[in-house]
Symmetry: C2
Subunit: 321 residues, 2 copies
């Protein structure tokens, strides 16, 4: 029995609450990409939905609970994807949604948060500054603060990805998961370690934003002074202790990858699967690129977690020769 | 009772034969795209699978039947997508697959057909020349010739898209379907007219390859001397009489769109949904762009039927300013 904050029954129950639009996402082998990477590669595609990331799995759950509780408003800090998802889920349920984000977040993400109907507040600092501001707003207004990865519903929502992977026809040897706050890694990892314990769970973070990976290896919270990566979706600096505990229980490894590998991963995903992805979604491919021997001949599944990217930046990264 | 070659029971049965990987594809609203087009737009995404088009729905059915019959080989002419799908489905069932294609087909499509394990034969002419050559090969070798749109399994496979659209939570006002040989239009159209007769079925073809659309309006087979369009997937010149009869029974309209609108459609799909699509998959958006008044305020569903595109060409089209 894994000692985590997660619970399989609750994760199964989550599937009945989440809009089916976000469930049972495409999972398929990409042989061309596999040949290029020297292993069997399957993709779990979390971007073919109105918010273009996996985050709505969690926000569907949270907003459903808030509605049951008669709450009318919610606030979150977001690197951009959680904000879109919370707004999408919240607005459909009549909730007022406030999102706090860094002014440096991708314009595409900020525009889409506004377009979905959130009150968007920008802060001058990074994501951690947005988190602080969101706490203040929640206190001032007396409304629910949704904290990504800390609030168990965000982990349970992401964990439904794990149920789908565990149900898949051919089980993977390794599942590669982008590591940001840790909701996806702990959620998916928990389900896999419970239902398919033979599957290796490998988390991937950029070298430029290594706080949770370092924490994992040192088995204690390690923070960083700054985060510097194009993978804006995973650029946290202050790991959450409870999340680290869960991660230590369910992840086999956490690795760091270079920015150049993330870009190469984005390019390979475009060339061999036709997918435009945001940098965080290329972390898995980047990990294989950096350690081909480790994955040689294995069947790896990589979760394509988001496609909210500024096209100008994408173009600069991917087409720079 | 519609008088067509299609049958609802057989289409339901097809769903039990087709690999689930190709079924229940993502269907979701794209509000950003809808705002841009002045209507509600939903996407039915047929590209998140190993062959990146809807064609495997039909080839799964055909190859399953061939295997039951003890056949060991099959040949088809293909603009590129059917060939990939037939090879994928056939090779998994131990069939030898021969694909005949035009030398002018997109390199990406030809490369992927080869990579999947087909014997690929190229002809100097266009798709219609490939069709002739495939007939000869089938006769010489005594093997099954798969004829797209004529062979009912290709229509029944595509028709399973219609079942999913008819099951969708909110029914569309209009479904926009790329019109090539007619398998998708007749299959999806038949199901919608049977299960959701209020939904308007509008087929879309490029002005540069208008044979089946002209045939639809003149209610007789009209051929063209040439086909000139970037939408290589729908560039036929010789409509099939049986398919035209079915189309006349199930389609409400067939419209032609300019090349510039197809390119604008591809660009909008990239900008607002993050999807890289082949030109044929942008026909629906192109149709809305060319006749905004017709679709204003309506809920249109457009089937994103393929994403096999040469990236160099895509880049030239979409990023040309």
């Amino acid at each position: 029995m894994l000692r985590t904050r997660l619970d399989l029954d609750r994760i199964h129950a989550a599937r009945r609450v989440i809009n089916p639009m976000f469930l049972n996402t495409p999972t398929y082998r990409c042989d061309a990409l596999g040949r290029r990477l020297g292993c069997t590669v399957s993709i779990k595609l979390e971007t073919a939905n109105p918010v273009r990331s996996f985050k709505a799995r969690g926000t569907e759950l949270v907003t459903s609970l808030l509605t049951e509780q008669g709450r009318t408003a919610v606030v979150c800090a977001s690197a951009g994807n959680l904000g879109q998802a919370l707004t999408w889920s919240g607005r459909r349920r009549g909730l007022d949604v406030t999102v706090v984000a860094s002014r440096r977040a991708p314009v595409a993400k900020l525009d889409r948060i506004r377009a979905l109907g959130a009150e968007l507040e920008l802060v001058d600092g990074d994501f951690e500054m947005a988190r602080e501001r969101a706490v203040t707003i929640a206190q001032q207004r007396g409304i629910r603060l949704l904290e990504d990865s800390l609030d168990i519903e965000t982990c349970e929502g992401a964990a439904t990805i794990g149920l789908e992977l565990a149900d898949a026809e051919s089980t993977a040897d390794t599942v590669l998961i982008a590591l940001g706050g840790g909701a996806m890694a702990t959620g998916v990892g928990y389900v896999l370690k419970t239902l398919a314990p033979g599957v290796e769970v490998v988390c991937v973070q950029p070298t430029g934003a290594p706080a949770l990976t370092r924490s994992f290896h040192e088995r204690r919270v390690v923070t960083t002074e700054s985060a510097d990566t194009i993978a804006d979706g995973v650029a946290g600096r202050y790991p959450i202790p409870e999340v680290l505990d869960d991660l230590l229980a369910v992840a086999d490894d956490a690795v760091l990858v270079q920015e150049s590998s993330i870009i190469a991963g984005m390019r390979l995903l475009l060339e061999h699967t036709g997918l435009v992805v945001e940098p965080s979604a290329a972390l898995g491919v980047a990990a294989v690129l950096e350690d081909r021997d480790r994955f040689a001949g294995r069947h790896v599944v990589t979760v394509i977690c988001g496609s909210n990217v500024d096209l100008d930046a994408y173009h600069r990264w991917v087409h720079r020769t």
